[in-house]
Every structure is written in structure tokens, then in C-alpha cells.
């Protein structure tokens, strides 16, 4: 029930909004979102990491089953279970945090079809939380796909002028990726079921073949390298579209740009994290032998993405698109951190999911607030807002520096760890820690730091600073009740994110400590594998060609 409520509250809120009159919709939405957040916080406090330090026997790395399985279709052996570990818990908290903020940000922006809007927002929250708390493939995949639907409608109904194209492209693009991912899952589960002797726990000795952890252990141990390679490609395609990894990114700028503020914020803050979370949850722990081979290429794509999209950002004329492209670059840092395959990069990559959600989401919120007042997104058409909107300007500058990774703010810790992990992940030349990337990857990706400063300061220099330039037709919208600068509601929307950015930037220790076991869990198979790969790279002839001994004790007796 504990975790089930995380899904239940937003769904309940959606139903309530549906029943109640539409003038109450936004208040009910806010209430539902706040309830979700509140329960998320309570839930987090119940997590044994905090409640029982030092907890004996609590396997923090593994998934803490907060709910017993619901035997939904017992005949098929489908036992759905929900649970979290530190990483998914943090992502759940991120989703919960943005739920009320997004509602607050839409109070005046959405004036038509209000009811539906908040219903879709609530469903979106439920779906995304579902992805993070899933313990089996079916729940995971279902929630992963369901999250598309509210996103689709949010863009298609409430979006900008190109909303039809944007929503269809987004939907079909990501669906295309996830269908292939589904094929990968199906293969894995079938293979597992074949090995253990069937779907049914009654026939195969009580093994839940859908369980992600069991599946991970199985795949890691018994899949041949070739199979691992194919599974990696299939899963990675689905997740890479969501991350997004260059060159599968073109749906994102369009969708971000056309979506209403709430949609853009949700995209940036949580939807992109689904891909990175998938990499963390499935790709890296499941198919280690393939990952060791493919990691340099995936990291290569991520680095191309960092440089390429950072440059594209600089040439943008539209603010929202600029931030959207910057998300691609940032998620590239997250990817290289994860694929550095060492604890430093893993911690950095995991933390990056959170910090990117904060900075990018907050910047979209800021732009949305400005857009509500001036109805302009083109960088050239507006400028010098510092004079008329000093509070807004403060937040923009703050989140800009979070985004460029200024030390002391959230972005830095994760970015630094990602790059450090990437850089030192190579044992050539007597140093570093085993890894398959290495100094060159770190240095080239590091150029992204410079480019990041260039495009973000370009944006700030044009929009925040400079001589005041507010478009003429502004006066036509004078009727809107918004004051010139941010009102209290909007400040309340941005201030929590700012506070969290400072907190993570100055005192990330609790988070780093909490995600450490999960990061180690993700990397269970790696120290040996990576060291081997390193030696192979260095052309070490003494490398044994014997098959690698199994890493974890076999749970399923003597399987093929």
C-alpha cells in the first residue's frame, strides 16, 4: 500500500477533478499534487536508509519491496510488485516536487479545457512515478508507455502553433523506440522462462520471471555475449530516444518548444529521466559484457551530442528551443557518467538526473512566466528585462549558473563527478580507476563546459541584461491580471527549486551516501570486466581467454 498510494493519490485526484466543476479544477490539481508530494516525503522518510541507520540486513542496494505483490493474473505468473531503492526514490521525489510547481505555474496560463489539463497532469505524474517504482517488467513497460499519452495530449491540445506536428512526432518517435525495447524485454523474459522451466511460479520453482532484479541477475550470468549485444541494442534504442542521445534527439526541441509551460517542465524534469533511469536500471546491470564493448560508442554519441547541441544552442533564436537543446547536452553528461562504469561516474550520472531536472525545469518555468507576460519567445525580440522584472531576472541568472555548473550550486557536483569518472576511467599509464572511457573522453566532453557558458550567457546577456526592449503588442495583453514582475505564487514556484539547488550544491553528502549502494549495485559485474577490457585495449597478450567465472552465485540450480 505504501508505494501504491504514490500511484493512487494522483489517480484519485484526476478522478476528483473529473467529477468536480471546472472552476475547482486548478485547486483540486494543486491539492492532489501537494498530497502526492506530501506522501512522497513521508514515504521517503520511511525508507530504511533514513529510518534505521545503520540498518542491519536492509539491502539498500537492492530494491526494497514496499508492497507485496498483487497477484493480478496469477495464471500467467504475473505478480506485480512495487518498490524503490535510493535512486528511484530520489526520482520519485523529483517528480513529486515538480507536481505542485507545475500546477502552480499553470494557474493563469491555462484558461481553456482546464479540467482535462489537470487530469492529464495528474495521470502524467502517476505514470512517471509508476515507472520509477516498478519492480517488474510489465509495470515498468506499461507505465513507460502510458506516460506518453498525457504528454501527447498536453502538447496536442495546449501547445503552440505547431502542436499537431510536435505531438505526433514525439509520440511516434518515442513509441518506435519503445516497441523495439519491448522486443528486447520479450526476448529476455522468454529466455528466462525457458531456462527455469516455464512462466508459472508453480512450475518453475517459484521464480517470478517478470521481476526486474531476477531478470537482471539471470541476464548478467547466462546470456551469451552475442545475445547481450542484441538485448543492449534493443533496450538502448528505447532509452536513447527518451534520454535523448544524439542523433535521436530531434523530437525533443519541437515537443519542448510547442508544449505549454507545464508540459515543457515535465518533459525536462522527469520524462527525460525515464531514459536515463532505464539505462541505470536495465542496460548497465543487465548486459555487462555488451556494455563494456558498446560503452565507448555510446559515450562517443553522448559527447558528440554535448558538443553539437551546445553549438546548436548558440545559434538558436528561440529561448525555449535553446533550453531544450541544452537538455540534450546535459543528458549527454549524465550518459557519459553512467557509462564510465566506475563508482565516481555512476554517482555523478545518477545525481545528474536530479540536478538537470531542477535546473532545466526551473528555466522552463522562468521562460513560461515571461511568456505569459510578453508573449514572446524569440531572443531577439525581447531584452533588458532586468529593469522591469528584477526578481524574475534573479531567478533566471541563478538557474543559468546552476545549468552551467557553477560550484556551490547543484549542477556542479554531478557534472564534476561525471567528468571525473569519465576522465579517470582507464588504467593505462598506472593511474586512474578501471573504466572503458578515459582522459580523452573527459577532455572533449569538458569542452562542453565552455560551450555551456557561451550559450547560457548569450541568453542572459540578451534577455536579462541590455537595454530594455519589450515588444509593442504587450499592451494588448494588459488585461491579464499579472503584475509586471513575478507575483507571490510564481515566487513560491521557483524558490523551492532554488533552495534545493543551493542545498545539493553545498551539502550533497546525504544524497551521495544514499545513492552509493545503488551505484555499486549497478556496477556489480564491472570491476573485473572493465579491467579485462582495459587490458585488452592496452594489448596485453597475457590476457587469459578462459571463460569468465560466474560472478554471482547461481540462484536457479544448474541452468544452461
Amino acid at each position: 500500500m505504501l508505494a501504491g498510494l504514490l500511484l493512487g493519490i494522483p489517480i484519485l485526484a484526476a478522478i476528483l477533478i473529473g467529477i468536480a466543476p471546472s472552476r475547482l479544477a486548478k485547486w483540486l490539481g494543486l491539492l492532489g499534487a501537494l498530497a502526492t508530494l506530501g506522501w512522497g516525503v513521508v514515504f521517503a522518510c520511511l525508507y530504511p536508509y533514513w529510518s534505521e541507520i545503520p540498518s542491519e540486513g536492509a539491502d539498500l542496494a537492492g530494491y526494497w519491496p514496499v508492497d507485496d505483490g498483487w497477484a493480478v493474473i496469477p495464471l500467467l505468473g504475473l505478480e506485480l510488485q512495487l518498490g524503490v531503492n535510493a535512486v528511484s526514490l530520489l526520482l520519485v521525489l523529483l517528480t513529486c516536487l515538480f507536481a505542485p510547481l507545475v500546477v502552480l505555474a499553470s494557474f493563469t496560463a491555462i484558461t481553456e479545457r482546464v479540467k482535462e489539463f489537470y487530469i492529464w497532469l495528474m495521470i502524467m505524474n502517476a505514470a512517471v512515478i509508476g515507472v520509477f517504482i516498478a519492480r517488474d517488467v510489465i509495470t515498468f513497460y506499461t507505465a513507460f508507455e502510458v506516460s506518453l499519452i498525457p504528454a501527447f495530449f498536453l502538447v496536442a491540445i495546449y501547445g503552440g502553433p505547431d502542436r499537431r506536428e510536435a505531438s505526433f512526432k514525439f509520440f511516434i518517435y518515442t513509441l518506435f523506440g519503445s516497441i523495439i525495447m519491448l522486443a528486447g524485454f520479450v526476448y529476455l523474459v522468454m529466455r528466462f522462462a525457458d531456462s527455469v522451466g516455464g512462466w508459472l511460479p508453480s512450475t518453475n520453482g517459484g521464480v517470478n520471471v517478470w521481476d526486474i532484479d531476477a531478470l537482471t541477475t539471470y541476464a548478467r550470468e547466462f546470456l551469451t555475449p552475442t545475445e547481450q549485444g542484441w538485448v543492449l541494442l534493443a533496450l538502448m534504442l528505447g532509452f536513447a530516444v527518451k534520454v535523448p542521445l544524439w542523433p535521436l534527439h530531434t523530437w525533443l526541441p519541437l515537443a519542448h518548444n510547442q508544449a505549454p509551460t507545464a508540459g515543457s517542465v515535465n518533459f525536462a524534469a522527469v520524462i527525460l529521466k525515464l531514459g536515463a533511469y532505464g539505462v541505470f536500471r536495465f542496460v548497465i546491470p543487465m548486459v555487462p559484457e555488451a556494455v563494456v564493448v558498446f560503452a565507448p560508442y555510446i559515450a562517443g554519441l553522448a559527447i558528440i551530442g554535448i558538443i553539437y547541441t551546445s553549438l546548436v544552442c548558440w545559434a538558436q533564436t528561440d529561448m525555449k528551443k535553446l533550453i531544450a537543446y541544452s537538455s540534450i547536452a546535459h543528458m549527454g553528461f549524465c550518459m557519459i557518467g553512467l557509462f564510465a562504469l566506475n563508482p565516481i561516474g555512476a554517482q555523478g550520472g545518477i545525481l545528474y538526473m536530479i540536478t538537470h531536472g531542477l535546473s532545466s525545469g526551473a528555466l522552463f518555468l522562468c521562460i513560461g512566466m515571461m511568456y505569459e507576460r510578453h508573449h514572446v519567445k524569440e531572443i531577439e525580440r525581447i531584452g533588458g528585462l532586468m529593469k522591469s522584472m528584477p526578481v524574475w531576472s534573479f531567478f533566471v541568472v541563478l538557474f543559468t549558473f546552476v545549468s552551467v555548473g557553477l560550484p556551490g550550486l547543484a549542477g556542479f557536483v554531478s557534472e564534476f563527478l561525471c567528468l571525473l569518472g569519465t576522465f579517470v576511467g582507464s588504467t593505462e599509464n598506472n593511474g586512474g580507476y578501471p573504466g572503458v572511457l578515459g582522459p580523452w573522453y573527459g577532455i572533449v566532453a569538458g569542452v562542453g563546459l565552455i560551450l555551456g557558458a557561451i550559450y547560457m550567457l548569450y541568453l542572459v546577456g540578451k534577455v536579462v541584461f541590455g537595454t530594455e526592449n519589450i515588444p509593442e503588442h504587450d499592451h494588448a495583453h494588459e488585461s491579464s491580471s499579472l503584475p509586471r514582475d513575478l507575483n507571490l505564487r510564481e515566487i513560491m514556484t521557483l524558490a523551492p527549486i532554488g533552495a534545493i539547488c543551493f542545498f545539493i550544491g553545498l551539502y550533497p553528502t546525504p544524497i551521495l551516501e544514499a545513492i552509493e549502494p545503488a551505484a555499486e549495485h549497478m556496477l556489480t559485474a564491472y570491476p573485473e570486466l572493465v579491467a579485462e577490457a582495459d587490458q585488452r585495449q592496452a594489448g596485453d597478450a597475457t590476457l587469459t581467454t578462459e571463460p569468465r567465472p560466474t560472478l554471482v552465485s547461481t540462484t536457479w540450480g544448474d541452468l544452461p
Partner: protein
């Protein structure tokens, strides 16, 4: 590869090598000194208060005074800490965890970068003048920024506090990541303060340029930090120094660590560390080729130019190298040229900037280029293994350059923004400008290294060492320094003679004056500005005694008890290389003093005694194209901005535009759009099959059945026919 190491030097001198280097002492962990964290806390609190003042639109002087009090308190705490400090014994004071995790017990199995202070003589020395000068300049700014109350006053002081906070963590941090925090933090403060007049396009551009150019340097620093972890598995100074304690004696004995079996292993990439750290230092301290941001940074309010862009922040590069000097030393012992490069880049920048300063008309720009030039001297000092000289020069420079900037600030303030030396003359005769006149005169003398001033001693310490230390072309480097000293004296007094000299008072008001220029009267500085000018002048005099006479070798003691001198061989004594027939440390006084006086004399002739002759000389140059190139090139700053624009900015921007189009047309248009058309295309192909004609359906069905049957037979045969 022959190394310019002392080991070789000693061997060639026929002496035996006693071996051994000064070991780097292990830091003591003192939890009881946690109150030292107040040094960081005061500016942080002040920044928050100023921020709140900005949010509440406070119109009084509260933010200004808060900042002054906070910085003064920090200074007091630094003094108390100095009282507690034992010379030569570094102390680590752990405040709280920052990035701190491990996944094993080995060396390469943890990442530790906490908020902890590394207190040794070097950091205390730096902190003393940073917080001390910071307080003075904040006090000065309370008057200077008075007109901005209610506009940017709170913002200004918030940024000042952020700057001091960042600078303190840069200097005091016990690990390289905290240094990086301060490093970027001062960059942020600098960006915010340069763009302070945010409606001015030039100010925004200058701020952006400063931040981005610094970011280029920061990447170098970051790579250096990563390389340090890569090779030593630690990010903390103490861990790094203890690791180096193992390698330095081996290197000193003439072996490369890692080349012989049984020795501790050290990969070659360890020798790249100094090169990357150097890039970071050059970015922050505005050395060639990352120098062009500093003159533009003069767009900020003058107190900022004095504090950040002259006295403290730009010396962070010197601090970085002095702090990590053992790594540079190791690289040099291994036969590398990192230190030589530092010295040469410094010397080159010193000369380059001095030549540019000759032809600048904006007073603050002249001072900015003189800062570049003086920073060049400091790097030269580091390069020629004269860390004491470099740090001493940082110290004296901080006083006289702050004084000069604050004087020019009073001029700018009093003359409605006028800074053009051609448009001011005889200011000494204006009412109420006596203090400024003579304070600036003292600052000028110190900058020009007039004999027996502090600048004279500190500069000569460096120049003399260039003739003592053996290294690639160090004698030539020394001569470059001497020539630059002459140029420095010339351009400094060119400004002073132009502005304060002259027979009559003649002033054109600056752009901030609205109304009839003839009715303009410069308003002299008030007591707060004046008192700080006088205080700094006293400081300039005190700098002589603290560094040289009187209190004796106070600064030398500080520097020698720190990482700027640790790790050097015990047996190192200076060689006996004569310079003009004597010990360079002695003869240099006469040589550089002479050059300085010559420069001064030229300035006096052209800009005080016979100003017509300067104009005639100018006309002479302008007469034909070839000779006109010289003044024009200097005025245009050797076209460095244009060259960077053409070589870096424009290509990058063009590639940005190219990728922008590539993304739209190729990736999105051709690839994604193309793949998206495949289903549509397939649909077109199979459309006729569902046209509704019965024959069509029949054909399709027949075809399908045939295919299925063929497939079944094939499978059947494959399985062995039974």
C-alpha cells in the same frame, strides 16, 4: 633531453649531491580551530543580507556597511588565526562534508573534497591582504556607489560579498575542488560586477568575455585536477603532498620516478599536470593568450577594478602555482619545461602589455595593462624559481595597484566619468584634490619601481633571480624584464604627468555630465574615499618594511614555510653568476633602477616639460604608412581581439550555425523525415491491393496462401523431413 635541474647544475659544478629534499610536513588536523570557518561565514551572511536588501528595495546604506563590517570581521578572524598558527606546520580544519564518498579502502577508491581549510603560511599570507584590502575597498565603495542607492547598491555589495566568500574558499580550501569552487565563484562575482551597468552593451560583452575566457582556463584547471586524481588518487593537498614526498627525492636523485624497477610507479601523465594547471592560472591571471578579458573588465565600477581585477582575484593564478609548486618542481626535476614556460609566458605578457599601455588613453585601461604586465613579472618569478619574489610582488602590487585604481576612481567619480588622459590636465590645482594627487604619485612611484620603493625591491628580487637560475634563455628573460621596467616607468608617469601636471587646470567633463561643460566643476572625494587612499599609501610604505627592512624577512619567512618552497632540494644554493661584475641581487638594483629612471625622464620630458614634442613625435610617426603601423598596432592592442575573433569566435559561431542548419535539414529533415516516409510509401505501394476489386483480393489471397505453403514445406524439409 637535458634538464635544467639543479641536480645537473650541481653536478656540473663538481659538487657531490647530498641528496634529500625538504619534506612536505603532514598537516595536523585541528577540530578545535573550527571557528576559522567564520572567515567564510561572515561574507556569506553579508551576501545573504545584501540579497535580502535588494529584494526589499532598501534605499539606505545598510548593505554597504554590512559588507564592510563582515569583511572587517573576517580580517580580524584571519589575524586571530595567524596568532594561533605555528610557522611551517600546516593545519587542516574540517568544517563539513561536501563531496565525500569511498567504495573501498584503497588509494584510488575514494573521492574526498570537503569544506575544510588548509591553513599554512601561504594561505594566511594571502588571506591577510585579501580580507584587509577587501575591507578597505568595500569602505571606499560605500561612498563611491552612493549615487546608486536604491538602484544597484545592494546588488553591488552582494556581489562583493560573494567575491570575498569565493576568494576565501579559493585560498583556504584544503582540496583542489574547493579551490575550483572559489575559482569559479570569483569568476561569477567578476561577471556580475563587470556587467553591473547592465544597460551598457559594452559592459555585458565584457562580462561575458571575462566569464567565457576564464572558463577556458577553468577547463585547464579542471583537467589538471582530474589528472591529479588519476595519478595520485586524491584531491586534497595533504594527500597530494604526502604522495609527492615519495617521488620528489627520487627525482632529485636524478631518476625519473617509475623508470627503475622497485621504485614507486608514476605514469607519464603526472608530468602533464603542471601544463594544465598553468592554463587555468593563465586564464584567471590574464596571461597571454588568455589576457584580453582583463582590460575589458574595466567596464565594472572602479572599486571592483581595484579589488578584483588588480589586487586579489587576478593573483589567484600565482596562488595556484605557488600552492602546487611541488608538482611543477617534480616536472622540472624530470626534465620538463613547465616552469620555464610559465616564466616565459609571464615575461612575454609583461612586455606585450607594457607596449600596449604606452598608447592607451583611458586611465583605467593603462592601469589594466600595467596589471597584466605586473602579473607577468609574478609568473616570471615563479618560472625562475623565485617564489618568494613572486609572492612579495603580489603583496606590494596589491597595495600600490589598489591605490592607483582607487585614485583613478575618485577622478572618474569627480569628473563625471572622464578618464581620457588627453582631456584632463593640471588636476593638482583643483580644489580638494591634493590627497588624490600625491597618493597617486606614490602609487605611480611604486608601480614604476622607483628606487627604494616596495615595487622596486619585489621586482628586483625576480629579475635578479632570472640571471642566477639556469634555464632556457633566462638571461634574455631577465633583460625583457628590465626593459619592461623602463616602459612601466614611462607609461605610469605619462598618465600622472598628463593628468596632474601641466600649467593650467583644464578639464572636459565626462559622459555622465549633462549640461554646459564650461560650468563643470570636479567634485573632490569625500572623507571615506580619502581616508582609504591615505591608508593604502601608508600600506605602500609599510610594504617596504615588511618585505625588506624593519620587520625583516617577514614575507620570506611566510613563503618559505609553505608549499611554495617545500619539496625543493636541501642542498640548493644559488650559483655564483655575475651580472655586471657582481652579485645579481646587488647589481640589479642599479641596472633596473637606471632603466626606471630613464623611463621616468622620458615621461617627464614628453608629458610634463615639453608636451608639444610628444605631439610632434606622434605626427612624425603618422607621416607614412609603415611607421604609422607602430602606434596603431599598439593602440589596437596588437590586434589580439581581432585575431581571436577571426580564429576562434567566428569559426565557432559559423560551426554553430552550420550545425543548426544540419540539425534541421539533415538529421530532422532527411533522416527522421525520410524514415517517417517509409510507412507512407509502403502504404502507397499496397494501396491498389485493397482497391475493392474482387480479382485483386483473390490474387492477394492466392499469393499469401502460396507463401505460407512454401514456408511450411521449407520448415518441414529443414527439420529432416519427418
Amino acid at each position: 633531453m637535458l634538464s635544467p635541474t639543479l641536480a645537473t647544475l650541481m653536478t656540473s659544478a663538481g659538487e657531490s649531491i647530498p641528496g634529500g629534499v625538504t619534506p612536505i610536513p603532514e598537516a595536523a588536523r585541528e577540530e578545535s580551530l573550527a571557528w576559522a570557518g567564520l572567515i567564510l561565514l561572515f561574507p556569506a551572511v553579508s551576501a545573504i543580507i545584501c540579497g535580502l536588501c535588494a529584494a526589499c528595495r532598501v534605499r539606505n546604506r545598510l548593505p554597504g556597511w554590512t559588507t564592510v563590517i563582515a569583511l572587517a570581521s573576517s580580517f580580524v578572524v584571519v589575524c586571530l588565526l595567524y596568532g594561533q598558527h605555528q610557522a611551517g606546520q600546516p593545519t587542516v580544519i574540517h568544517l563539513f562534508d561536501w563531496i565525500n564518498f569511498s567504495w573501498g579502502d584503497g588509494t584510488f577508491e575514494s573521492v574526498r573534497a570537503n569544506f575544510a581549510l588548509y591553513v599554512d603560511d601561504l594561505s594566511i599570507f594571502w588571506m591577510l591582504f585579501v580580507t584587509g584590502l577587501g575591507t578597505c575597498i568595500a569602505f571606499y565603495a560605500t561612498e563611491y556607489m552612493d549615487d546608486d542607492r536604491g538602484k544597484g547598491y545592494s546588488r553591488f555589495f552582494a556581489a562583493m560579498s560573494i567575491f570575498l566568500l569565493a576568494m576565501c574558499s579559493l585560498v583556504l580550501g584544503d582540496n583542489l575542488v574547493m579551490l575550483y569552487l572559489g575559482w569559479e565563484g570569483v569568476g561569477l562575482a567578476s561577471y556580475l560586477l563587470i556587467s553591473y551597468y547592465y544597460t551598457r552593451q559594452s559592459a555585458i560583452d565584457a562580462g561575458k568575455k571575462a566569464f567565457i575566457m576564464n572558463r577556458i582556463g577553468d577547463l585547464g584547471l579542471a583537467v589538471g585536477i582530474w589528472l591529479i586524481w588519476y595519478n595520485f588518487g586524491t584531491l586534497e593537498y595533504d594527500g597530494l603532498f604526502q604522495a609527492l614526498n615519495v617521488y620528489l627525492p627520487i627525482a632529485d636523485a636524478g631518476n625519473l620516478p617509475g623508470t627503475e624497477i622497485g621504485q614507486p610507479q608514476l605514469g607519464w601523465s603526472a608530468y602533464l599536470i603542471p601544463w594544465f594547471l598553468m592554463v587555468g592560472a593563465f586564464g584567471k591571471s590574464a596571461q597571454f593568450p588568455l589576457m584580453t578579458w582583463l582590460p575589458d573588465a574595466m567596464e565594472g565600477p572602479t572599486p571592483v577594478s581595484a579589488l578584483i581585477h588588480a589586487a586579489t582575484m587576478v593573483t589567484a593564478g600565482i596562488y595556484l602555482i605557488a600552492r602546487t609548486y611541488p608538482i611543477f618542481w617534480l616536472e622540472m626535476e624530470a626534465g620538463g619545461y613547465a616552469l620555464a614556460t610559465v616564466g616565459w609566458i609571464g615575461g612575454f605578457t609583461a612586455l606585450l602589455a607594457a607596449t600596449i599601455a604606452l598608447k592607451q588613453y583611458d586611465m583605467k585601461r593603462v592601469l589594466a595593462y600595467s596589471t597584466l604586465s605586473q602579473l607577468g613579472y609574478m609568473f616570471m618569478g615563479l618560472g625562475v624559481v623565485q617564489t618568494f619574489g613572486a609572492c612579495f610582488h603580489v603583496y606590494t602590487h596589491a597595495f600600490f595597484k589598489a591605490l592607483l585604481f582607487l585614485c583613478s576612481g575618485t577622478i572618474m567619480h569627480g569628473l563625471a566619468g572622464q578618464l581620457d588622459v588627453r582631456r584632463i590636465s593640471g588636476l593638482r590645482m583643483a580644489k580638494g584634490w591634493k590627497v588624490v594627487t600625491w597618493c597617486m604619485f606614490v602609487g605611480g612611484l611604486w608601480l614604476a619601481a622607483f628606487p627604494f620603493t616596495a615595487g622596486f625591491f619585489s621586482k628586483d628580487e625576480i629579475l635578479a633571480q632570472a640571471f642566477v637560475q639556469k634555464g632556457p634563455g633566462y638571461r634574455a628573460l631577465g633583460w625583457i624584464g628590465i626593459v619592461t621596467a623602463g616602459l612601466t616607468a614611462y607609461y605610469t608617469f605619462r598618465v600622472w604627468f598628463r593628468v596632474f601636471g601641466g600649467r593650467t587646470l583644464r578639464i572636459e567633463p565626462g559622459p555622465e555630465h549633462h549640461g554646459d561643460p564650461s560650468s563643470f566643476h570636479p567634485h573632490p572625494p569625500g572623507w571615506r574615499m580619502k581616508s582609504i587612499l591615505i591608508l593604502l599609501t601608508i600600506g605602500c610604505f609599510a610594504a617596504i618594511s615588511t618585505g625588506y627592512w624593519g620587520i625583516g624577512h617577514w614575507i620570506k619567512g611566510m613563503v618559505d614555510h609553505s608549499s611554495a618552497a617545500w619539496g625543493m632540494p636541501l642542498h640548493w644554493e644559488e650559483g655564483d653568476i655575475p651580472f655586471f661584475g657582481g652579485d645579481p641581487h646587488w647589481t640589479m638594483y642599479f641596472v633596473s633602477g637606471t632603466f626606471g629612471l630613464i623611463g621616468l625622464a622620458f615621461a617627464a620630458y614628453f608629458h610634463l616639460i615639453n608636451r608639444r614634442s610628444a605631439e610632434r613625435l606622434d605626427e612624425l610617426f603618422k607621416r607614412n604608412f609603415i611607421t604609422n603601423l607602430i602606434p596603431r598596432t599598439l593602440e589596437r592592442k596588437w590586434y589580439l581581439d581581432e585575431v581571436y575573433n577571426a580564429l576562434v569566435r567566428i569559426p565557432t559561431y559559423l560551426s554553430a550555425k552550420f550545425f543548426y542548419l544540419f540539425d534541421r535539414l539533415v538529421i530532422d529533415g532527411l533522416l527522421v523525415g525520410g524514415i517517417a516516409r517509409i510507412p507512407m510509401f509502403l502504404g502507397r505501394v499496397f494501396q491498389p491491393l485493397q482497391g475493392g476489386a474482387l480479382q485483386g483480393y483473390a490474387t492477394t489471397m492466392a499469393g499469401g496462401v502460396t507463401l505460407v505453403v512454401v514456408w511450411m514445406i521449407w520448415v518441414f524439409l529443414q527439420k529432416g523431413g519427418g
